[in-house]
Symmetry: C2
């Protein structure tokens, strides 16, 4: 059976993005000196050292993400926006985007199709399971989306990448989620990131 | 010159203790099933596997701690309380306890003496530096005390031990602290804990 895996890069104080996310600063403010942009340096600037974890990110067959992760458009889809990832996104499969505003599916190059789901996280997961078969489902974020799935008890594994700075505010992983028992099933340290996979115990 | 090192065991969601700390439950509530007590299992139940980090905990020459870490007595010192650690505490040197209520120094076995400092965190650090010479100073906790020192820019190194569960509320490390730039100078994973040392960049 497919696993539901949440993937998130977080700061040492647990934030996945700073306050006031915008198109110019998708990961929000960080005190003004660009450290928020370093959240994902581990996968871009240090890709070789972190090759296993970068490959894992792309290994899921189906993806789910929140609308704020998909892009900066709020409310109705009144302008063209097909994600942050260009014409050939790295997902290579169905991506279910959670939104309150209906929109037709958007096929992209390389096998990625964005589907827009308006009836909630559980409905999105049902559709993701249908599409995934026995492949894994990755909940890509942001933190609010992962927190909703954690609170609903729908996450099997949590793959965190902890980077060496703090943001002091913003979107925090685990915010509003009841206490969880976890099993540390994988952990590896690299030069400027800690990778850890927790299995969520039930 | 001596370094100021903050040591803290935290959950995956960054808490050093749950809500409603008490004498019976010094690490607070955790949903009622005792997982809060597992915060420090890595140093007691798995001491051999984590020997290096346990030894580091005791390597500082002088210690500072908040009153809530020292014990459950609030307000005046109207009952006898000499810490959670028995007659021969593991500190083997001066321990400066932050409090609003004066009290005479309390010598213990093994070289530990509890000194009670009523004039704030900076005054306590001045006294700790005098006592430490070129030895290290350990800020033992709790999270509120470490957060005050972090906010004041007085911490050189942060040694965290991240354990696999969440508490969802309580005393959270980094709460109220401005964004920090860190350098990951040491990291090691054990079977059910991640040890990481961050140098605080200025």
């Amino acid at each position: 059976m497919s696993r539901v895996i949440a993937n998130q890069t977080i700061t040492a104080d647990g934030y996945a993005a700073g306050i006031n996310q915008s198109e110019e600063r998708p990961f929000g403010e960080d005190g003004g000196d660009g450290w928020g942009d370093r959240l994902h340096a581990w996968m871009f600037d240090h890709a070789e050292e972190n090759r296993d974890e970068v490959e894992q990110l792309g290994a899921a067959r189906v993806h789910i993400m929140g609308r704020n992760m998909f892009g900066p458009v709020r409310g109705e889809w009144d302008r063209e926006w097909n994600g942050w990832w260009g014409d050939d996104p790295p997902f290579h499969g169905p991506v279910f985007v959670l939104t309150h505003h209906p929109r037709d599916p958007q096929p992209m190059a390389g096998g990625t199709t964005y589907h827009f789901v308006t009836d909630g996280i559980e409905a999105a997961l049902v559709r993701a399971r249908e599409a995934a078969g026995d492949g894994d489902i990755s909940i890509q974020g942001g933190a609010d989306t992962i927190n909703q799935y954690l609170a609903a008890g729908l996450v099997d594994e949590l793959r965190l990448h902890i980077v060496p700075f703090t943001l002091g505010g913003g979107a925090r992983l685990f915010d509003g989620v009841q206490p969880l028992k976890l099993e540390q099933v994988y952990a590896r340290t690299a030069s400027s990131v800690i990778h850890v996979t927790y299995r969520v115990l039930r």
